[in-house]
């Protein structure tokens, strides 16, 4: 039977020209998702930051120095065929899953047994291990979100694109007799918290959604962006992420991937080979 409905592919577009690096997205994400923290957060290598803002520089001396802040959530990779994300394909206990209806990579906390193979597989460092049990300051446990379960020691967690918000929005829509959500009804907390409006979230498969218009994903080539100034992190690895970036600066776009010296930004040789039409 032919499927009538087109699957959704939720994704994010982050305008790096607009991002000021304020960190509001990180704070909003932690509060929304009950992300645990330590008393001393000096060591960032064992801190949990589902959304992490990186600071990039063009490595040029003053006065030509330029910087750029790059927020990095989970990329919710699709891989070269549906669901073959770097992490999902390796998890031995099916504790992380690729949702074909939404394109969201989930983490099943009660099934993860903490082997950390998914962390080894993820080139974006988007996955975090709970080295400790969460400890909340006195009284803070009362302000935790009831919609997101806190995680215990010994398991992996990561950005879920605030999937609980999707479920709540769907519930509301169902009550109103609708089966489809409007664009504004499902937005991630980082998107709403960003004061400069640098983050846009929506369905990449829906031409009416802003994310689609911003990057014009080419679904014949694994969602590769066709809009000017749009790029994805580590595009040529074939992870096929659903987080896109916009930057007017060439050095920023080049920092998004690894290039050989003789390659043009955005046009690496291996991807150009793929784009050539098949011979008759």
């Amino acid at each position: 039977m032919k499927k009538e409905r087109i699957d959704k592919k939720f994704g994010m577009v982050i305008d790096l020209d607009a991002c000021t690096g304020c960190g509001s997205c990180m704070v909003a994400c932690m509060a929304e998702n009950n992300v645990p923290f330590k008393k001393d957060e000096t060591n960032k290598l064992d801190s949990i930051t589902w959304m992490r803002v990186y600071k990039l520089t063009n490595k040029k001396p003053f006065p030509e120095t330029e910087i750029c802040y790059l927020p990095r959530p989970c990329m919710h990779c699709e891989g070269q065929h549906s669901g073959h994300s770097p992490c999902v394909s390796v998890c031995p206990a099916t504790a992380t899953d690729y949702d074909m209806d939404t394109g969201i990579v989930s983490q099943i906390y009660t099934r993860c047994f903490g082997c950390r193979y998914c962390m080894a597989a993820c080139p974006y460092h988007a996955r975090y291990f709970n080295w400790w049990d969460p400890v909340w300051p006195d009284g803070m446990e009362k302000s935790l979100s009831p919609n997101v379960s806190p995680r215990m020691r010994g398991i992996v967690e990561k950005c879920s694109f605030c999937f609980h918000r999707y479920q709540l929005a769907l519930d509301k829509a169902y009550v109103k007799g609708r089966r489809e959500l409007k664009e504004h009804e499902y937005q991630t907390s980082c998107t709403q918290a960003c004061p400069s409006g640098a983050i846009t979230f929506g369905d990449l498969n829906n031409p009416d959604h802003q994310v689609h218009r911003l990057v014009k994903p080419d679904n014949r080539h694994h969602g590769r962006p066709t809009a000017k100034n749009a790029f994805r992190l580590l595009e040529r690895l074939g992870t096929n992420p659903k987080v896109y970036y916009l930057s007017s600066k060439e050095w920023v776009r080049r920092a998004g991937d690894n290039y050989l010296d003789n390659e043009e930004t955005g046009k690496p040789l291996n991807l150009m080979k793929e784009l050539q039409p098949e011979p008759h």
């Binding site: 060591n43 290598l45 064992d46 801190s47 949990i48 990186y54 600071k55 990039l56 790059l70 770097p86 394909s89 390796v90 998890c91 031995p92 206990a93 099916t94 504790a95 099934r111 993860c112 047994f113 903490g114 082997c115 950390r116 193979y117 962390m119 080894a120 597989a121 993820c122 080139p123 974006y124 460092h125 996955r127 975090y128 291990f129 709970n130 080295w131 400790w132 049990d133 215990m152 020691r153 010994g154 398991i155 992996v156 992190l233 580590l234 040529r236 690895l237 074939g238 992870t239 080049r254 920092a255 998004g256 991937d257 690894n258 290039y259 050989l260 390659e263 690496p268 040789l269 291996n270």
Partner: protein
């Protein structure tokens, strides 16, 4: 005191001397057990692993002990399937070493996972596309096979053998051992390979990602090949160490020479395959992903110290080509010093290979704005990694004292009245 348990025709030290000799090893074992309990009770915050270095010393130790324990399946294959009958004189020891290596690997895995009580999820909620699932299934099954291979050896203890039922069970188990050896070889090929696949399928990590043949990356075949090649080196090395400690010759030279020769040719051919793999990776795979070869070995000063070109040279030339060349030459492998050098280098070589396949991809940045990571294990990680070594020494000592591990020992060491 325990003379009734000691095999006939061999001489062993007195029990107090034996216990005194083992005491320091037991203390090390207890230190490891303490660290293990800390990890289980307090969690993996006892380690120096972090979110960038999720795989570290323990995973390396796992891969390394399984590789050097490969002598068990390969010797079994040679004896029972290819009919190299001389190897019956070392097969018991190869099985014992394999048993120790595989039980150690399972123990380390049990410490390494964040929620050990959920370990069974890997079987219950198995993701059949994951190489780690294949590892878990084959590893468990092969450990069961090794246990079955070790049991008849225990039943051959002098006192146990006096019981007719046990004697008959032991005798009949020996009779069907070829079936288990074949099963073991089959399972081993897959789990050694899937351990290579664990790294090779990581397409987000260009240092270890390799092209595929059907569903298996190149590393699948290289890991099986290297375990078969270098595993016998470790079996010979431990045999020589045992001979040194006991002051006895335990296995005839022709047996060692045969195993060394086969190991030598396996190493030689493996190294050719490894060089081809490295060349293809450096000139085709890496550039397609936007990397030049030097990106993998050059970072800041400290990363070069830990992850520089020297690792590749040590693995392929010093601990690969050299032991291979020594062992394939009859003249050289019959020289005791050269033989010992070759098997030691070979053992280090395969461990180095596993080291680079685990540590290097964790240390190396993939995003251009990321940096190299360095990792120094905590004492708890070191203690729990040494724990299996202490356990292995104790099990070998007890087995050597009470079981007829070496069939040629009586002949080579006649007791003078």
């Amino acid at each position: 005191m325990d003379s009734a348990l000691i095999p006939k025709g061999v001489k062993r030290c007195s029990l107090p001397v034996f216990i005194a000799g083992l005491t320091p090893v037991v203390l090390v074992l207890l230190w490891g057990v303490y660290a293990m309990l800390l990890c289980w009770l307090k969690g993996l915050n006892q380690t120096n692993m972090n979110d960038s270095y999720g795989f570290a010393l323990w995973i390396w130790a796992d891969l390394a002990v399984i590789a050097i324990g490969g002598g068990a399946f390969f010797s079994g294959l040679l004896k029972y399937i290819f009919g190299k009958d001389e190897l019956k004189n070392i097969i018991n020891y190869a099985v014992l070493i394999g048993f120790i290596c595989y039980s150690s690997a399972l123990l380390i895995l049990a410490i390494d996972v964040g929620q050990p009580l959920r370990s069974w999820f890997i079987f219950w909620h198995a993701n059949v596309h994951s190489m780690l699932t294949e590892v878990a299934f084959c590893l468990s099954c092969y450990f069961a096979v090794l246990t079955i291979e070790y049991i008849p050896l225990i039943l051959e203890n002098r006192k146990l053998d006096e019981i007719p039922l046990i004697h008959n069970i032991s005798h009949n188990m020996h009779g069907i051992m070829a079936v288990f050896a074949a099963t073991g070889a089959f399972l081993s090929c897959f789990h050694q390979g899937s351990l290579g696949g664990v790294a090779g399928v990581l397409y987000g990590r260009p240092y270890v990602f390799r092209e595929h043949i059907l569903v298996w990356p190149w590393t699948f075949f290289l890991f099986t090949w290297s375990a078969a090649a270098f595993g016998p080196c470790f079996t010979i090395l431990i045999t020589k160490i045992t001979e040194g400690i006991t002051g006895k010759k335990l296995v005839k030279d022709n047996v060692i020479s045969l195993l060394a020769k086969i190991s030598g040719w396996m190493i030689f051919t493996y190294i050719i395959a490894k060089i081809i793999d490295t060349f293809y990776w450096a000139t085709v795979t890496a550039p397609e992903l936007g990397f030049v070869w030097s990106d993998f070995f050059t970072g800041d000063r400290s990363s070069v110290l830990f992850h520089g070109y020297w690792l590749l040279f040590a693995e392929i030339v010093l601990c690969g080509i050299i032991p291979g060349l020594i062992l394939i030459s009859k003249k050289h492998r019959e020289n005791k010093t050269l033989l010992l050098t070759a098997v030691t280098l070979g053992t280090i070589g395969v461990c180095l290979n596993r080291w680079t396949m685990v540590m290097q991809p964790m240390a190396m940045p993939v995003m251009t704005f990321d940096s190299w990571n360095l990792y120094i294990p905590s004492w708890q990680e070191v203690a729990t990694t040494i724990l299996p070594v202490a356990y292995g020494i104790i099990l070998i000592a007890i087995s050597f004292r009470y079981l007829p591990i070496f069939p040629q020992e009586v002949e080579l060491n006649p007791i003078k009245e």
